[in-house]
């Protein structure tokens, strides 16, 4: 499947090593519950939702999420992270249809 749009945002933009930052992970995903009917055809839209989101720092997992249908369309997941040093933040997510996608961002603490 084509790559879905996703974005990792770090707040605040400027931080030092040892600081606790907010990590925002946004995905463009329909999060279909499998209970909604298509208004035109009257058929049930098949379920398609994110089931697992994993956060890695330098390939070491530090946060795992299990997600269910009740999360909104185009979800945003926000967690905190204490940046130990410069490195790569990677987010991998899986859906119930077997799709696996990832997104990474380099962290460059100043000072």
């Amino acid at each position: 499947m084509a790559e879905r749009k996703s974005l990792i945002k770090i707040k605040p933009k400027k931080f030092k090593s040892g600081d606790v930052v907010k990590v925002n992970f946004m995905v463009m995903h329909p999060m279909e519950t499998g209970m909604r009917k298509d208004k035109k055809s009257g058929k049930i839209v098949p379920a398609d939702y994110i089931t697992e989101v994993k956060f890695f720092f330098n390939d070491t997992p530090f946060t795992t999420m299990q997600v269910w249908e009740s999360v909104s369309t185009n979800p945003v997941f926000t967690i905190n992270f204490k940046v130990p040093a410069a490195g790569t933040l990677k987010v991998v997510y899986k859906t119930n249809t077997g799709e696996v996608q990832e997104k990474s961002k380099k962290l460059k603490p100043k000072g």
Partner: protein, 158 residues
């Protein structure tokens, strides 16, 4: 359940080495949350997670959700738990439930001390006016909870 047994084996190996090696985030990451069937009521879902242990309402868990949500499809929820987040005392997992949705489970977040602070925010769907329940599991084996009722004007499912 191949994956689970694989993870358990990793966990055992990590436990064996943990005695000598320093604690890494990987070894502290809570094992996979118990996966129940998709649709279950709130009591069954809670039992699957706590294993029958008591859940105590606590002021340490701060749940921020709107009292009245105009659109049930996008209800912002923020959870913060007071915790030092050290390897001895940290929040292992945060579970979010919507008590009247057809699938009460929204999200289970497994945290480690590397997070620095126990916080989670997302947007959830609510089918009707109901309570949002949050259960935080600490590394000491306690289950703390917080609850808030949300009035929904337009349902978010279907």
């Amino acid at each position: 359940m191949q994956r689970r047994s694989f993870l358990q084996r990793i966990g055992l190996a990590a436990a064996a080495t943990a005695a000598t090696a320093t604690l890494t985030p990987q070894s502290l990451l809570a094992a996979e949350a118990p996966k129940g069937p998709n649709t279950m009521d709130i009591d069954a879902a809670l039992k699957a997670i706590t294993g029958g242990k008591a859940v105590t309402p606590s002021k340490k868990v701060h749940l921020k959700a709107p009292e009245i949500a105009e659109n049930g499809a996008v209800v912002p929820v923020t959870i913060e738990v007071d915790s030092p987040m050290t390897p001895d005392d940290y929040v292992k997992a945060i579970h979010v439930f919507a008590t009247k949705n057809s699938n009460v489970r929204c999200a289970d977040i497994m945290l480690t001390p590397a997070n620095g602070a126990a916080m989670f925010a997302t947007r959830i769907k609510l089918g009707s006016s109901q309570d949002v329940l949050v259960v935080a599991e600490t590394s000491t084996g306690e289950f703390l909870s917080a609850k808030q009722s949300v009035k929904v004007t337009i349902g978010g499912c279907g």
